[in-house]
Point group: C2
Chain length 246, copies 2
């Protein structure tokens, strides 16, 4: 659905041997220097290539549009996420797996805190970039939902549950990411995101161990869902089965 498997991968590896920064990175650096100096709207692709010392065609070789240079790593990250999910097997608890997939996005932001904070401030100011970001977020959400749809297909409401859980994971991730970006990239981004994703896992991942081994057992919960009209003995039976008691 997200078509990200066909997305271009970083192809500057051949260039990294030289002393000067790879052309792709040089274009990103030039673009951000100008965005900060003049503003995003006032900067043209011609300005960017002039500062980077390359031709227009080089720019469009790496970036389809000016907007894309603001988010240079999302295509790679989408491709990584799709590959990560495709490499899953039956043993992966699905909700935990999409949480781990979301952590790939966090890692991309945390790799370069200064750049991520700069971009966050820029995106907040430019409506066109906010719209672009929404479409990127939507593609991540679809990648997670597609995987979950496959894994939850056996459930009666599998498609519904897949869409809801994917949206919840993305919202939790973004809540944590934004709070880290607002703190200027200070603090432990991973811990913040882990905490946020833990909330989603506690809401939707009850069938799986809610915590990795070694966590405090005090948080280990059992959720029993039953029809109100069900006889009490049936409910008790179900609890006993869940708890593994006889």
């Amino acid at each position: 659905m997200s078509s990200s498997s066909a997305a271009p991968r970083r192809d500057e590896t051949a260039e990294t041997a030289g002393a000067k920064p790879p052309m792709r990175e040089a274009l990103v650096a030039a673009a951000f220097q100008l965005f900060l100096e003049r503003g995003y709207e006032q900067t043209t692709v011609d300005d960017i290539v002039a500062l980077a010392g390359v031709g227009r065609r080089s720019f469009f070789r790496y970036f389809p549009s000016k907007e894309d240079v603001v988010f240079p790593d999302h295509e790679r990250c989408l491709a990584d996420m799709t590959a990560f999910l495709a490499a899953s097997d039956e043993e992966h608890e699905p909700v935990r797996r999409v949480c781990d997939a979301a952590r790939l996005v966090l890692r991309m932001y945390a790799e370069n805190p200064a750049f991520s904070v700069q971009r966050y401030r820029l995106t907040k100011k430019v409506p066109g970039l906010r719209a672009y970001e929404l479409s990127v977020v939507w593609r991540y959400e679809r990648a997670l939902a597609e995987y979950l749809r496959g894994r939850l297909a056996v459930r009666r409401d599998g498609t519904l549950q897949a869409d809801v859980i994917a949206a919840a994971v993305v919202a939790a991730h973004n809540n944590a990411l934004r709070s880290w970006l607002r703190s200027d990239g200070q603090g432990d981004a991973s811990a913040t995101v882990d905490h946020a994703l833990g909330y989603v896992q506690s809401a939707f991942g009850a069938a799986s161990p809610p915590h990795p081994a070694g966590d405090e057992p005090a948080d280990d919960v059992v959720v029993v869902v039953s029809r109100r009209g069900a006889p009490l003995w049936r409910v008790v039976q179900e609890i006993e089965t869940t708890l593994g008691r006889d």
Copy 2:
């Protein structure tokens, strides 16, 4: 956050007394006739006003852009949603309240199934309209999240929970809405959305009664959350209390 309280309300009421359709509706009808005949991209605002028999200024009096004529009722619906949430009090269980707010969007679509299905097909084909729709969905989600943030402020993770629940409600609503639109507006849209929102309420709103009085008891579920280490008699006691049995 959604700024929708300042959104323009339907102001064609003064025109509805005449025999011809109000100008705003006439513009929408003309636009859709042309979008279907020629395609969205191939239709200009000039084409639309020519067919509707009005001037360009009249068009822009109602719609800031060509995209807005495709979604003529979202501003009103956002304003209705914001007003609905603002009219809440402490007695409204928050998760149920945002589910009810989401139902306002469904109602807007269900008011005119043929138009909604037509637009759904159009939006799927035009990337610019999909981007526009994402931004509208985002504004609904923010309206729900802002309300929840206020209501859940007392909780330790209130902001996180608000964002996650709002996203889950929107995803559930849209899953149901799309399945209704794909079925060409056949079937009971309300029942489909109720079912989808019930899933979100069961995940997040367990403390509230899951169904309004009068619903079929067969769907009435009881959710019991307990520590795994709790003694069985305690769990049973809690179920009995919840079920109102002695």
